[in-house]
């Protein structure tokens, strides 16, 4: 039952969250379709099923805040307001892509939106996110840095180095572990000493143990807002473990067959963050017409962005030699 009288979130923000999550879902679905049409090459890691986490932070963060995500980062990039054609165009290797085809699916970057990169080597970006947080502290400005990563990251050294440094220097940063129960193809609990791979390690760095249902968008939003406020007020870092599940396999090459059918079915049918949030919006007496209008609007945006991406030219070959150095070139001798 929903408590309409004591609603701390409100219709406006809920609809914002709905629109955000829906956008993340529909763009990922479109990315999948474009793969099947062979219009997207290389690999790609979809965040289908995990939209509530990136979506909630997208709503909670302010312009100027910094975000860092992994190779599973389409959703986190879109959540900061990057254009859909910028993301799909990059996946398709077109000039309209965020990095004009130089980075690809695993490295989406949009500095104007605070998207400080998507990182494809596990663990590294936790340490780098400390750096933007350190800069905010050094400059005495109040941006917050947020770093998203998966459960598998909790077993690499950089995770531990980064948490320790964030704590000793009281950095304005939020670490968000999206525990989707699988480290690539392996159940995370088979390869981790503790039950909650991030939260159970928090105490080692004098951080609170925070576990949240990552598929409950409202809870995710509350948790995000609290941690962001704490960081912005100079009260230091947080580590959040959000329990979630990916609807697809690890990457394009993976059908995800190692997961029990019953488990997949349960998460898809009963714990889908988008399906459940739609029901919740109705529980809060939000007009279904408004909900549907947003759905139509997003569908339309995704289709238009797809058309723009497909019409966008491929990069010029000379781009290979640009932007190694700040002078725009790649020369290494005179």
């Amino acid at each position: 039952m929903v408590d309409k009288l004591n609603d701390d979130i409100g219709e406006e923000k809920r609809l914002q969250l709905w629109e955000m999550m829906l956008k993340l879902r529909l763009v990922e679905k479109k990315a999948y379709d474009l793969f099947l049409q062979n219009l997207i090459k290389g690999t790609s890691h979809l965040a289908l099923g995990q939209e509530a986490i990136a979506g909630a932070f997208g709503v909670a963060l302010k312009q100027g805040d910094y975000t860092f995500c992994t190779y599973r980062g389409h959703a986190h990039t879109l959540a900061r307001g990057s254009s859909i054609e910028g993301v799909l165009g990059e996946l398709m290797g077109r000039q309209c892509g965020l990095m004009k085809g130089k980075g690809g699916s695993m490295h989406l970057t949009d500095v104007d939106k605070g998207v400080m990169g998507s990182y494809a080597i596990i663990g590294a970006h936790l340490t780098i996110a400390n750096g933007t947080a350190l800069a905010s502290k050094y400059n005495k400005t109040n941006e917050v840095s947020v770093c998203f990563f998966g459960d598998g990251t909790t077993n690499i050294g950089a995770f531990h180095e980064a948490l320790n440094m964030a704590k000793i220097w009281n950095l304005p940063i939020v670490f968000v572990c999206e525990n989707n129960l699988y480290m690539e193809y392996t159940p995370i609990n088979e390869v981790t000493a503790v039950e909650h791979p991030a939260a159970d390690r928090a105490g080692a760095y004098d951080l609170d143990k925070i576990i949240v249902d990552g598929n409950d968008a409202d809870e995710m939003l509350r948790t995000a807002e609290k941690a962001i406020s704490k960081a912005r007020e100079g009260k230091g870092p947080s580590l959040i473990e959000a329990k979630t599940y990916r609807h697809s396999g690890h990457s394009r090459a993976d059908p995800g067959k190692y997961r029990p059918d019953e488990e997949v079915k349960d998460w898809m049918e009963n714990k889908d963050p988008i399906k459940n949030y739609r029901a919740k919006l109705l529980d809060f007496n939000i007009n279904e017409k408004i909900i549907s209008e947003i759905e139509e609007k997003i569908k339309d945006q995704v289709e238009k962005a797809t058309e723009i991406s497909m019409a966008s030219p491929i990069p010029e070959i000379k781009e290979i030699y640009t932007d190694v150095w700040a002078n725009g070139g790649s020369e290494w001798h005179n």
């Binding site: 910094y66 965020l98 990095m99 004009k100 130089k102 980075g103 490295h107 970057t109 949009d110 500095v111 400080m116 990169g117 990182y119 080597i121 663990g123 590294a124 970006h125 936790l126 340490t127 780098i128 996110a129 400390n130 750096g131 933007t132 947080a133 350190l134 800069a135 905010s136 050094y138 400059n139 840095s145 050294g157 950089a158 180095e161 980064a162 320790n164 440094m165 000793i168 220097w169 640009t322 932007d323 190694v324 150095w325 700040a326 002078n327 725009g328 790649s330 020369e331 290494w332 001798h333 005179n334």
Partner: protein, 327 residues
């Protein structure tokens, strides 16, 4: 005019950069209160305080990650990796992140940082605290690689490295920390990518870097005094960018080339120089390019073993004589 050690020039160079630009800060292990394990950063904490001179835990990935992230926002960090050998534990941050992020982001992100590190042998520290690793970083697109051979070069190249909009790895040679030089002007700038001539000559071109450049110079003095051989000694000062024009000009004059490298033989920087010379100056060569390197072994520790592993002045002299006189 003051006499300055290489060691003192490091802390002075950092201090000068920090005085000029509030965006510059310094981070590393034991660099503040302890003044650095090589005492190359003494006095910085006292002058600039804890906010700008940060003692970090033994977390090389976290140190370089923090420096990188700060640089992405426009700050200009100087990060110390105590021994260059330790770059191996944070090589992901160096080679995958710092080096490639500008390119992958299509130029959205600049990373103006300096990684300074104590490099090279001569201290009998054994195989994991003595390596010469310039070639590791040279082969990664996106990294500038600097290795000064004297106090004035430390001052001038550090100034340029800190101002450079791209990441620079600054290899300080451990065996040069005590090296002294008379210096008139300390606040100087030397462009990265300009080689320096340490000794003039037209019989042979000897190309070196850091300690090997200084040994090549000593060898050139002996060759001139005792063997009537005039060697031109080129101190590259940086491997990336590389001053190919200075090399070419000298090779065209001498026709004989010797590179002197401290690293083990395989894929050392001299191999690339040799390849460039054969591409650009083949017709000018009077014989093959000779590479003097450490043999392809890890560095041993005992005096006699280490001393006979790293190229010595005597070895350089003998190799030149062998090359020019067939002796």
């Amino acid at each position: 005019m003051a006499q300055l050690t290489y060691r003192a020039s490091v802390s002075l160079a950092i201090a000068q950069s920090m005085r000029k630009d509030q965006k510059v800060f310094f981070i590393g292990e034991d660099v503040g209160a302890a003044g650095g394990v090589f005492k190359a950063t003494v006095g910085l904490l006292e002058e600039f305080g804890k906010e700008r001179v940060m003692d970090a835990p033994i977390s090389e990935q976290a140190i370089l990650g923090a420096a990188m992230g700060a640089a992405m926002t426009g700050l200009r960090p100087i990060a110390e990796i105590m021994f260059s050998d330790f770059l191996a534990v944070c090589w992901d941050i160096v080679a995958n992140q710092i080096a490639k992020t500008r390119y992958m982001s299509d130029g959205q992100i600049n990373i103006p940082l300096v990684i300074r590190t104590a490099n090279g042998g001569g201290s009998k520290f054994g195989a994991q605290h003595s390596q010469s690793l310039e070639n590791w970083s040279m082969m990664i697109p996106g990294l500038k690689v600097v290795a000064p051979s004297c106090p004035s070069d430390v001052l001038g190249l550090m100034d340029s490295a800190v101002k450079d909009p791209d990441p620079v790895i600054f290899y300080e040679h451990k065996s040069l920390y005590a090296f002294k030089e008379e210096i008139e002007q300390t606040d100087i700038s030397i462009p990265i990518g300009e080689a320096n001539t340490l000794h003039e000559g037209k019989d042979i071109t000897i190309i070196g870097l850091a300690l090997m450049a200084q040994r090549a110079k000593e060898a050139a003095l002996i060759l001139k005094d005792k063997h009537d051989i005039n060697a031109k000694v080129i101190d590259l000062r940086s491997l990336v960018p590389l001053d190919l024009q200075t090399i070419k000009k000298s090779v065209i004059e001498t026709g004989h080339v010797l590179t002197v490298e401290e690293n083990p033989r395989l894929c050392g920087w001299g191999a690339e120089i040799s390849s460039l010379i054969s591409e650009h100056c083949f017709k000018n060569l009077k014989g093959p390019v000779t590479r003097v390197t450490t043999p392809h072994v890890p560095l041993p520790s005992a005096d006699i073993l280490e001393d006979n592993t790293i190229p010595s002045v005597e070895l350089i002299v003998n190799e030149v004589i062998k090359k020019l006189k067939g002796e």
